[in-house]
């Protein structure tokens, strides 16, 4: 493989990106404008809530804690998952596997018994604290888990509503700073993914245009090999994704998203976005294979763009559980999930959940790119 040829293609694509107003708008300006508008007008949008998993570390041997867990399940919003120790539960919380961790203290049943024995005499109660660790990356966790838990505790205590006095105190004991995130901050990780998706439309249109005006045919009369040509193209789009991610980051930084993470986390975020751009090149090639004209390419691009947009970015963050399950079949879901874990939950880049997300994105992107190249080469030759 001759680097000179690969670089010639990269240089050509870079000039096209800078000089073609349509490309400039679609790849760089449109995502930024959309993010600004969307975050301004719909930043607080919600939707039907799915069932969320919450971790429970039950240190109480009595029956009352079991009653509490049953009540939490019956809410239809939370699904308690039992852990043997706090550390394991915290690990899963940091990786986004559960939305919250509830620590039921060893004296919970004793406390309830003391309350039932003398409901009107607070001095005789055994007071206790239920610690609650929340996922900072989940709007539901922060806004809903604590009230649901309070309600369940009130029911356990035999009251229909939360009374001002009870032996139970729920304490938010998140290991990281206790801060309520804005809806915009919840959306921020998905915005990176959102912007990157539009590259697929550019790829589809570029290949169709070059096919229509005879440029691909002309390129094929030169000694450049298909591997050199595709390497140049793919590298160009990865660079485009990198610049785009930097631009989106600058935009959302100016809008107030300033996660407290290190350089390694940013590098990881940019890396996963560049890997993700490979799947968009693949989808773009598939769209270019199906389409006969640039207009049709735009239409076919939306077939791949919309599911990724609605199921895998901030646009779909409040969708139903069905939509969340469907999201697992689009690569953008894993990118957003990894970025949310990194930026909002403070997960380590080496944590198993993050590495799993990266692995899925790598496999997905590699497969889609391979299929895209194969299909395009089969019907049109590269």
């Amino acid at each position: 493989m001759r680097i000179q040829r690969v670089l010639a293609i990269v240089k050509k694509e870079a000039k096209k990106t800078v000089r073609d107003p349509a490309v400039l708008f679609m790849v760089f300006l449109f995502p930024v404008v959309f993010i600004l508008a969307f975050s301004t007008f719909f930043g607080g949008a919600g939707g039907e809530q799915p069932v969320y998993e919450v971790g429970v570390v039950n240190m109480d041997d009595g029956n009352s804690s079991q009653t509490l867990l049953t009540l939490l399940s019956k809410t239809g919003l939370l699904n308690p998952k039992l852990y043997g120790d706090n550390k394991t539960a915290q690990d899963d919380l940091s990786q986004g596997k559960v939305k919250a961790v509830i620590i039921i203290p060893s004296d919970f049943s004793l406390s309830l018994a003391s309350y039932n024995a003398a409901p009107g005499e607070p001095g005789r109660w055994v007071n206790t604290t239920i610690a609650l660790y929340l996922d900072k990356g989940s709007l539901v966790a922060i806004q809903a888990v604590s009230p649901i838990l309070q309600q369940a505790l009130a029911t356990v205590a035999g009251r229909e509503s939360q009374a001002p006095l009870s032996p139970f105190r729920v304490e938010v004991a998140s290991l990281v700073e206790v801060k309520t995130l804005s809806a915009f901050e919840f959306m921020a990780p998905g915005m990176f993914t959102f912007a990157s998706i539009y590259i697929l439309m550019m790829v589809a249109q570029a290949f169709i245009q070059d096919r229509e005006n005879g440029m691909l045919k002309r390129i094929r009369t030169t000694p450049i090999t298909p591997v050199e040509f595709m390497t140049g193209q793919v590298f160009s789009y990865m660079l485009m994704a990198l610049v785009q991610a930097a631009l989106v980051f600058a935009t959302i930084y100016l809008l107030g998203f300033r996660p407290n993470v290190g350089l390694a986390t940013y590098l990881f975020a940019f890396t996963i976005l560049m890997v993700f751009s490979l799947s968009n090149v693949g989808f773009g090639l598939i769209a270019a294979t199906l389409a006969k004209s640039p207009g049709a390419a735009t239409g076919f691009s939306f077939l791949f763009l919309l599911p990724q947009l609605f199921l895998g970015t901030f646009v779909g963050m409040s969708f139903s559980q069905t939509a969340q399950i469907a999201g697992k079949f689009v690569p953008s879901f894993y990118v957003t999930n990894a970025l949310s874990s990194l930026f909002l939950r403070g997960a380590s880049i080496l944590s198993p959940a993050i590495l799993l997300d990266l692995a899925v994105v790598c496999v997905f992107s590699g497969a889609v790119l391979t299929i895209g190249i194969f299909l395009y080469a089969k019907y049109f030759r590269i």
């Binding site: 000179q4 670089l7 005006n213 005879g214 045919k217 094929r220 009369t221 000694p223 090999t225």
Partner: protein
């Protein structure tokens, strides 16, 4: 014996029910300016595409300067320069950048490329507009740039597919002069055209093809003389019963 530059043996190309090239056998000598004539749809472009390695023949054998086009396409692509029928140039690049891009695709080194691009741009009268983006070029300028892209690496074999189509008579004459220059440099040139006067003016030999078959082969003078006609156009009418540009 003259060493053959291009060899086509029993070449066939079928597209479903259509036979674009039908049992075509030809030999073109090195340094020869050979014209492939015929109406639109006769199979000229398909033949050129097979010679360039762009299209795989259904059957038959093709070689360029001794290299089997199917087995050694990368060696053939180093030798050939192709000016496609479409004026394929990048509009968002300048003329100079287009030339540099194609020079890089042929792995030309900096100084060589620089000298070559200067010569060609001057020869084609594009040196003053070289820094302009091609989207601002006229149709004739684009066509000339397209020729430069085919020749930037100084190929030994040049395929010119309808290089003067749509040009005004003055530009056409200028391109004819350029093509004669290629022959003078010793290059093997295959020119496809449906302008008979172009072939008569330029070519050492011509092959007339119709419906993919070779129906006449020889120098323009021989063909006209042997056919007892006044021109290649008349010969075509005599052989096929129709005018060459009726289907154009």
């Amino acid at each position: 014996m003259v060493e053959p530059g291009i060899v086509m043996e029993r070449l066939v190309k079928k597209y479903e029910d259509v036979t674009a090239v039908d049992d075509l056998s030809l030999r073109v000598a090195r340094g020869e300016l050979f014209g492939l004539l015929g109406p639109n749809g006769a199979g000229k472009t398909t033949t050129i595409n097979i010679l360039c390695g762009l299209v795989k023949p259904t059957s038959g054998f093709v070689s360029v300067y001794g290299f089997d086009v199917q087995a050694e396409p990368w060696k053939v692509k180093q030798l050939i320069g192709v000016c496609t029928q479409e004026t394929a140039v990048y509009g968002y690049l300048t003329g100079l950048e287009n030339v540099e891009l194609f020079g890089s695709l042929y792995a030309m080194q900096g100084d060589v490329l620089k000298a070559r691009r200067k010569t060609l741009l001057e020869k084609m009268g594009l040196d003053k507009d070289a820094e302009k983006r091609v989207e601002k070029y006229s149709g004739g300028m684009r066509r000339r740039l397209s020729l430069i892209l085919a020749l930037v690496h100084d190929p030994q074999v040049v395929f010119l597919d309808e290089p003067t189509v749509g040009m005004d008579p003055q530009s056409r004459r200028a391109v004819w002069g350029f093509i004669r220059g290629l022959k003078a440099e010793g290059k093997t040139v295959i020119l496809t055209t449906h302008y008979m006067e172009e072939a008569e003016e330029l070519c050492d030999r011509v092959g007339i093809i119709d419906h993919g078959r070779l129906i006449a082969l020889g120098s323009p003078r021989e063909l006209v003389s042997d056919g007892e006609v006044g021109s290649l156009e008349e010969l075509f009418i005599k052989l096929t019963g129709r005018r060459i540009r009726e289907e154009a």
